[in-house]
Subunit: 161 residues, 2 copies
């Protein structure tokens, strides 16, 4: 049999190489477009938006596009089996609010965002940009478990590293 060649480098170097690759993958290059609704949207309309846009999480924004809340399929499902009329219930009643929202920024590493998804057991992280005047966080993207799964699949297709 032909001897296997090309494996003369140590584990440490292979690790460095993988780290180098992961350190090149930033939120900026992987983020998807955020799907946002306003605070006075009804839970019913939020559910419809979720189906139309085919996303698992919606971001709730204020007039200026700054982050006010976040709502998941799980939150909507919980509301849907409740007793309230979904048309009359505003999303602001059931959403998770700032400052209890996990966010990331465009220069963060993708692996840091992935780590937050796992650590906080969430499906989606808004990518935000703090406004200069300190008046909130502008929502500019989203990182989800789908983003991470796509990045993982891409690793297997890498032609060069």
């Amino acid at each position: 049999a032909r001897p296997r060649v090309g494996y003369y480098y140590s584990g440490k170097k292979g690790n460095q190489l993988l780290k180098e690759m992961l350190n090149k993958m930033t939120v900026k290059d992987y983020k998807a477009v955020p799907v946002v609704i306003k605070e006075d949207t009804s839970v019913y309309d939020a559910i419809v938006t979720m189906f139309l846009e085919d996303v698992g999480t919606l971001y709730v924004v204020k007039e200026r596009g700054t982050l006010a809340g976040i709502v998941s399929r799980k939150d909507l499902l919980k509301a849907a089996i409740g007793k309230q009329s979904l048309q009359d219930l505003p999303i602001s009643v059931i959403m998770t609010r700032m400052p209890n929202i996990i966010t990331c920024q465009i220069d963060d590493l993708l692996i840091e965002a992935a780590n937050k998804l796992i650590q906080y057991q969430i499906d989606s992280i808004p990518v935000v940009k703090p406004l200069d005047n300190g008046e909130g966080l502008e929502v500019i993207g989203r990182i989800t478990k789908t983003t991470i799964a796509k990045a993982f699949v891409e690793l297997g297709k890498e032609k060069e590293v």
Copy 2:
């Protein structure tokens, strides 16, 4: 400045190294426990199970534990905003049925399962074992986007490759 050392190998070899790592990651080592319900479970009870077990997808099994269907949060949310009584509606009415279910097996590569999640736009893949008598697929695990995100995070923590 100190010269950077240890990067004398070619892109091709780095690629081989990554491929080697990915080729060691199989479904067997990453699968989670499946959460299953019976075909006559009501949609209401399915939703409750989903909350209690904190999963995004339920597998529906026949008496012998073989795969009959699959139901996602999205399917349940769609049913929840419908007109039917969720207590009276059996899950078998709204579930996706065999043979329209994407499955994987324990010796598949994790990256193949990840690729299916992306390709078919699904959140969860049952890990199955075909019964010897050809009478169905026994459900033995689950691979989800969470599984893949965890594997991705782990890559960044690899001590040796």
